[in-house]
């Protein structure tokens, strides 16, 4: 792979130059310590030191709600207005891995044109990061990234190492050739390696994901699920924030005074009660415990069995979001039979029933 060097002070000028014909989206601080990928109008808004955004990049490819097509008596009119040309800057490795999982999913058997068009129209510009107490990406082996980006920016002291991952990425570099230095010195490499080693040591969470498929199977009937189910508020937040959750509902919204409907999609969550209802009011997963089992089967078991890695990319969003502390970390610990007391005591305190 081709690697070049960019001086830090040239980053924003570079982004400005390449985003003339596309929307630039990047992390900005929205509330105290809460970040969000936003459309950038003023470059000073960009926060290069963010840890994680509230919602993952999936919101740009399949927004929380959007219209798929207009249905009339005369026919159907496709609507791809969400798939504008975009440059998404500042994506961390875990989130790029999340997109790779979504890519595989949305192209499996049938290609989802709403996802694929938006994906094709978006350049991914990755950015290196530093873990906090909730980051689990070293355990999921998604703390490094080798594919899925057009450019990736690794921060050194005064420069970025820029990894060129695609021909579109290379085209961007060629817009401002003067900014990029092909001469990577030994000193640069030493700084990079030192940074990598220090970052590896900064991870505070260590989960053995390889053991999870077996533990899910062995503990499928274990009472821990009932306890987790009792605590879960069925709010669906974990699904909204997870970069690999993809469930949605379909909406038919009739327009007033017309024989026309907007057929749209909105995010859904398997933790919500209405999710598995079928005709006749029958529900295959009436209990919260059953629904949590489905969620964690998908994160910890299904994908590992099929592709050798979990469908969790370790971003830590569930950990920083769930109001009752049910997340990959606590569930994995519960499955391993570790730290049970602390966890359960905390749960019962936080849940007023």
């Amino acid at each position: 792979m081709k690697i070049v060097k960019l001086k830090k002070e040239n980053l924003f000028s570079f982004l400005e130059a390449i985003s003339e014909e596309a929307e630039l989206w990047a992390p900005v601080q929205k509330y105290e310590n809460k970040h969000s990928f936003q459309l950038i109008k003023d470059f000073s808004q960009i926060d290069l030191k963010y840890t994680r955004t509230i919602l993952p990049p999936k919101k740009l490819f399949l927004p929380p709600t959007f219209n798929m097509f207009l249905a009339t008596e005369q026919g159907y009119e496709e609507d791809f207005s969400h798939a504008t040309k975009k440059i998404l800057f500042g994506v961390h490795p875990c989130d790029i891995h999340g997109l790779l999982i979504l890519d595989r999913f949305f192209q499996h058997v049938f290609d989802d044109p709403y996802y694929s068009k938006a994906r094709q129209n978006t350049l991914i510009l990755g950015l290196s990061c530093w873990p906090d107490e909730n980051c689990m990406c070293k355990s999921t082996n998604t703390h490094i990234i080798e594919e899925g980006y057009d450019l990736f920016f690794s921060e050194l002291e005064n420069d970025y190492l820029v990894w060129i991952g695609s021909s579109q990425g290379d085209d961007c570099i060629r817009i401002k050739p003067g900014f990029f230095d092909e001469d990577i010195t030994d000193e640069d490499i030493q700084i990079y390696i030192k940074w990598q080693n220090e970052r590896d040591k900064a991870f505070q969470v260590d989960i053995n994901f390889v053991a999870m498929p077996d533990l899910m199977e062995l503990k499928y009937e274990n009472p821990i699920w009932e306890k987790l189910g009792d605590a879960c508020l069925a709010c669906g937040s974990c699904s909204n924030v997870c970069p690999t959750c993809n469930c949605y509902n379909v909406l038919d919204k009739p327009l007033l005074n017309k024989d026309t409907s907007e057929i749209g999609r909105c995010w859904d969550a398997c933790t919500l009660e209405s999710y598995s209802e079928v005709a006749g009011g029958e529900n295959f997963r009436e209990k919260r415990a059953q629904r949590l089992k489905l969620w964690y089967t998908h994160k910890l078991q299904a994908y590992i069995s099929k592709y050798g890695k979990p469908a969790c990319v370790g971003c830590g969003r569930c950990a920083s979001t769930c109001p009752v502390d049910i997340n990959v970390q606590t569930v994995a610990k519960a499955l391993e039979g570790k730290d049970m007391d602390t966890f359960w005591n905390r749960l019962s305190k936080e849940v007023t029933k």
């Binding site: 798929m68 249905a71 989802d112 499928y220 379909v250 038919d252 079928v278 078991q301």
Partner: protein
């Protein structure tokens, strides 16, 4: 199974095709028969599907829902559905008249591996609305009668008035190249001349089954499966030769919305047809 998973619209699987209701009439108090035809002639003729596949039907302003295709691919051009009134979408479908338009997309799902059953014996066990997907298998067997061995049909309903497509099934009794056994749980008309009792009471009528060359198709209300499967196992039919369809909530039909998931199986693309052997290994059962 048939492994095709190809729907009409190759570039946007979510986009329906306009179809016209050619014929509709009530089958029971809450089930109606619909014969429809795609408005685009070429698409109507080239619409390819297997028995056991389903289509998503939409009504403007009401939404969309999955329905088994009840017709057979051996009679191309028209698609048939048996639809029970259950909620928003089905209520809207019930209000439609002949010549009205609906949207159709599909076909979806794996369907029954019927092409691989040449020379085999077929037992079809249906209860209630289970006749909807299995009628397609039955008609397919009848249209290709020579390539199958023995064909037996066991059909049960609660009461005579609730047996959908009963005239069609009565007519089959006249044929000597298939065994057709009908039953009702209870006869409130006093005119029922066939068997009375649940569908399993028909099993003694099936004589000299050759289990290794027999494929059984089962579809009906959840309560029916348990008892019928027991009978089929008693007949020594291998578990991977017993085929059934599973019903789940479905919003997309193309393996994306997640609603139909059982563990990590997506009923809409990996199913809805599963063998009894598959189903035993699903942790969240029927």
């Amino acid at each position: 199974m048939n492994g095709e998973n190809k729907c009409m619209n190759q570039t946007n699987p979510y986009l329906p095709e306009a179809a016209r209701i050619v014929r509709t009439y009530p089958l029971t108090e809450d089930v109606k028969f619909f014969q429809v035809r795609l408005v685009d002639m070429e698409k109507a003729i080239s619409f390819k599907y297997s028995p056991g596949q389903f289509a998503m039907i939409s009504v403007l302003g009401a939404g969309e829902a999955p329905f088994s295709i009840s017709s057979t691919p051996s009679r191309p051009g028209l698609l048939e559905f048996c639809i029970r009134k259950a909620g928003t979408v089905t209520n809207a479908i019930f209000k439609l008249k002949e010549n009205d338009h609906i949207g159709i997309r599909g076909p979806y799902g794996n369907g029954f591996p019927i092409e691989s059953m040449h020379g085999k014996d077929i037992i079809i066990v249906m209860g209630g609305l289970g006749a909807a997907p299995l009628r397609s298998v039955l008609l397919y067997c009848l249209d290709n009668r020579d390539i199958f061995g023995r064909v037996a049909l066991l059909h049960g309903a609660k009461r005579p008035a609730e047996m959908i497509l009963r005239e069609e099934f009565f007519a089959l009794k006249e044929r000597n190249d298939l065994e057709c056994y009908l039953t009702v749980d209870a006869d409130d008309t006093g005119k029922w001349k066939e068997n009375i009792g649940v569908v399993t009471t028909l099993f003694p009528l099936l004589k000299d089954i050759n289990p290794s060359k027999t494929f059984a198709f089962v579809c009906g209300p959840p309560v029916m499966y348990k008892f019928v499967l027991k009978e089929l196992i008693k007949l020594n039919i291998p578990k991977n030769q017993i085929l059934m369809t599973l019903e789940r909530r479905m919003k997309c039909g193309v393996g994306k919305c997640g609603h139909c998931a059982i563990d990590y199986i997506y009923t809409c693309i990996d199913g809805p047809v599963f063998t009894y052997w598959d189903v035993i290994h699903m942790r969240e059962l029927i």
